[in-house]
Amino acid sequence: MPWLTAHWLKQTTTEKFVEMPFIPHTPAEVAAMLEIIGAPDLDALFDEIPADLIGLPDAALPVALNEMEITRLMHDRAVQDGRWLNFIGAGGYEHHIPAAVWQIVTRGEYYSAYTPYQAEASQGSLQLIYEYQTMMASLTGLDVSNASMYDGASALAEAVLMAVRAHKLSTRVLIPKTVSPIYRATVKTIVAYQGIEVVELPYDPVTGTTPVPQNEDVFAALVIPQPNFFGQLEDVDGLTDWAHARGAKVIALVNPMTLGVLKPPGQWGMRDVSGVQGGADIATGEGQPLGAPLSSGGPWYGFLTCRTVLVRQMPGRLVGRTRDADGHAGYTLTLQAREQHIRRAKATSNICSNQGLVIAASTVFMSLLGPEGLRRVASACHANTRALTTALTALPGVRRLFSGNSFHESVVQLDRPVAQVLQGLMQAGILGGYDLSQDYPELGHALLLCATETKTVADLTRYTEQLAGILSVGQTA
């Protein structure tokens, strides 16, 4: 067992675990059941399987741990992963999650239920999703929302597919380089085999935003990130109107937490460009900031909202309100003719299981925060990042990289390799941000910073002082 860690070996014993965790059968019951079946023994139940396919017990697998043993092992591992003062954002954000959120959604009734196909026995999940859809549609300023996609990056890919299906004429999609590089990579994987051409748009090195392109062939959709990957605010109105004027769809890629204060995609554009309908057509993004823990990256969820005209292009599940036999309101999965279990090869997507429990958490989260809570959290993130950026850029060797407006995240440039500085900060228990130099070498020693509402003044000071220390050492050396 070369892949077993030393710890694992210590935790197991060589003794055979002859009992059956989670299986309730007693020997007497097994005998009675076999008799009803008319089978001599359990092995007989596998007698239709070609004998040469049946394998022996797998010696390489460890013996069972009881709950006490696995508890100790996982506690050790969780403690080992420790507690860090985190300033990384870049698509995943540390926010306070009210204790009520996960206490409620891990109730067995939500946690251990299946997809609500039997509507009458699933009104809890269904009504909750209907409430979720309402919240997300309103937050993004669009008409309808589905019941979630896997995550923000894959949701963007589905939005691209949706837009291309809706456009019919072109399969070109424009994605600015100010969209997260990982999102761009994901889109490419997912749309790769459907003949879609992804064109990347350059950014202005001064503002870190996407200029309105001068000239473009016909294209199906433009993706507009807001705030963009650098935390810079794009000219969403100009870009929206430009794309609409060319008959393309606009896909807004947004951090939903920031929509407490930033203009919702449904209201982008509409500046006196006569004859052009304003507002993004589709909005998508990562739902994690609304109640999902960081958890090394998942489970999070992707949200997807759109205009009513696009609803039949929507992938994934939709819940609708209807009436029961007595005329009372009730909820059910609807418009299923879009989905794989009905439409099979012609479905809008192959998605089946989604991120149900995470949107349940998100719904409770949004209910607890309400419009004012969302507004305050977004503003606090902005204020904290602004304060941190100001403090850090007051240090010698640190400067703000972009002009223009940033929100919630910002980029600073250092006088030495970012990796080396981050290493130093880790000695002080600080995760100092996201190193941009791998994905954007042209930006030099660029560091993406994020200080959410979870950071206190003392935290910001600690970061600043530690960075000052690290940079000064380098300077004297």
Partner: protein, 489 residues
């Protein structure tokens, strides 16, 4: 029940849940800011807790009901998996935090990879796919990448049996393939002649579930594999039904080249009312370079995520991070609590329960779809005879089961069996529960004869009566807005 929005009162706030004040946004230009207020509830913490606690009680779930939903493997989700996966050390870690800060997490995932490799008999695995369907996507994309890498670009078709789950054809289409459907024979096996007819140089591969969604083991699997391989195609295994053979038959041994595993089925992670799932994809040697990213590599104490630099031929990334980490932890914990023997017992007792339930139902007069076959971990009964006699449909029957306190089996899938119920008890249910279910089935069958209206208008004891699906689709009401209150129970 009222909607949460109907509890909303302008100006009400759950103050403990928000920063003390509204920080200034003066530095931002007006035209980028929001002017209207989003329609989120303005509620107190008690409003919210009470609403969602009450709402939860309107669900059936494993923790409250027997849930024999075929093809879904609704087994007990151990509570320890939940609490241990939600330890603060795991919850608080940022996906971009350096690997050195996540050795506890990465070690668990690495070991999970190894466990999955062992039980599937494949060469390598990627945990990245976030559900079965995404695993399928990754698998078929790898098939395509493999053919492409060999310059074999004329392969444009994926073969799928008619009993396949909808995700199979949908996935093939997403990967740019044309779907060729092949029929099932009377015993529930793939029609070999039909297969031979459609296979050819245009065949990229075949997707198969084994045991199939008909609840039987495909006995000619080795022949099928050799036909497809012979034609130059690859074999995809839809692992949704792995629970039936876990530890006994390895998909790798059956000749499959690529496989996904629904951890939310076989590995007991919760379905969460729709998700999150997890659909790791495993491959034979020749497909290893194409596995989706990231994957966990390295060695004990120095595990890390492998990326494009490590695996330049990968089909790429399927999501922003590394799959559904919290689900993966739950699956890992489950696997460790079962151990090698325990994993093997899963299939044994899932099969026992299915065959017992099948025998009992048959003995009490229900019609089996495949009466000559063993059940795998699930089986199908058809109510066609009852329907013809009484007009009671499988759907009516299913709804009436809810009144008896049982979640209904899967209805009308697979589509080729008329008026079917696909029944999967799973290994974690006891004989007493199965017997009680049989009692309910008998009682409803009697009601169908004696009081058919009672069954046709079921359910009668749930929070709502039968819902009008047609109305839902015809007049879609997908979001609420102020003034749209309506009669509620």
């Amino acid at each position: 029940m009222k909607l949460i929005f109907e509890h909303s009162v302008a100006g009400r706030r759950a103050v403990a849940q928000m920063p003390r004040r509204l920080d200034s946004l003066d530095d931002l230009p007006e035209h980028l800011l929001r002017r209207d207020e989003p329609l989120l509830p303005q509620a107190s913490e008690l409003d919210v807790v009470r609403h969602y606690t009450q709402l939860s009680q309107r669900n059936f779930s494993i923790d409250t009901h027997f849930y024999p939903l075929g093809s879904c493997t609704m087994k007990y989700n151990p509570r320890a998996c939940n609490s241990l996966a939600m330890l603060p050390g795991f919850l608080d870690r940022h996906p971009f935090a350096p690997a050195v800060t996540g050795q506890g997490y990465l070690t668990s995932l690495y070991e999970l990879q190894q466990i999955l490799i062992e039980v599937t008999g494949m060469a390598a695995v990627s945990l990245a796919p976030m559900a079965g369907a995404q695993g399928e996507f990754a698998g078929v994309a790898m098939i395509r990448a493999w053919h492409d890498s060999r310059g074999d670009t004329a392969r444009t078709e994926i073969i799928v049996p008619d009993a396949a789950h909808g995700t199979n054809p949908a996935t093939a289409a997403m990967c740019g393939y044309t779907v060729r459907e092949i029929p099932t024979d009377a015993q529930g096996n793939v029609d070999l002649d039909a297969l031979k007819k459609v296979v050819g140089p245009q065949t990229a591969g075949l997707m198969l579930t084994n045991p199939s969604t008909l609840g039987v083991f495909e006995q000619q699997i080795q022949a099928i594999a050799s036909i497809v391989h012979h034609a130059g195609g690859l074999l995809y295994y839809d692992g949704a039904n792995l629970n039936a053979i876990l530890g006994w038959v390895k998909p790798g041994d059956m000749g499959f080249d690529v496989i996904h595993i629904n951890l939310h089925k076989t590995f007991a992670t919760p379905h969460g009312g729709g998700g999150p799932g997890s659909g790791p994809v495993a491959v034979s040697e020749r497909l290893v370079p194409f596995l989706p990213l990231p994957r966990v590599g390295g060695e004990s104490g120095h595990y890390r995520m492998l990326d494009e630099r490590d695996c330049p031929r990968s089909i790429g990334r399927l999501s922003g991070n590394h799959g559904n980490g919290g689900v993966l932890l739950r699956a890992y914990i489950y696997a460790r609590m079962l151990g090698g023997e325990g994993l093997r017992r899963v299939a044994r007792y899932a099969t026992l329960n299915a065959n017992y339930l099948m025998a009992r139902l048959q003995q009490t007069g229900f019609d089996l779809a495949f009466p000559k076959r063993r059940a795998s971990h699930e089986f199908i009964i058809t109510l066609k005879r009852l329907k013809d006699q009484t007009g009671i449909s499988a759907m009516d029957f299913a709804k009436r089961l809810l009144d008896y306190g049982f979640h209904a089996p899967t209805t009308y899938f697979p589509m080729l069996v008329p008026e079917c119920l696909l029944i999967e008890p799973t290994e974690t249910e006891s004989k007493a529960t199965l017997d009680a279910f049989v009692d309910a089935m008998i009682a409803i069958a009697q009601e169908a004869q004696a009081q058919p209206e009672l069954v046709k208008t079921a359910p009668h004891t749930l929070p709502v009566r039968r819902l009008d699906d047609v109305r839902a689709a015809r007049e879609p009401d997908l979001v609420w807005s102020v003034g749209r209150e309506c009669a509620v129970r």
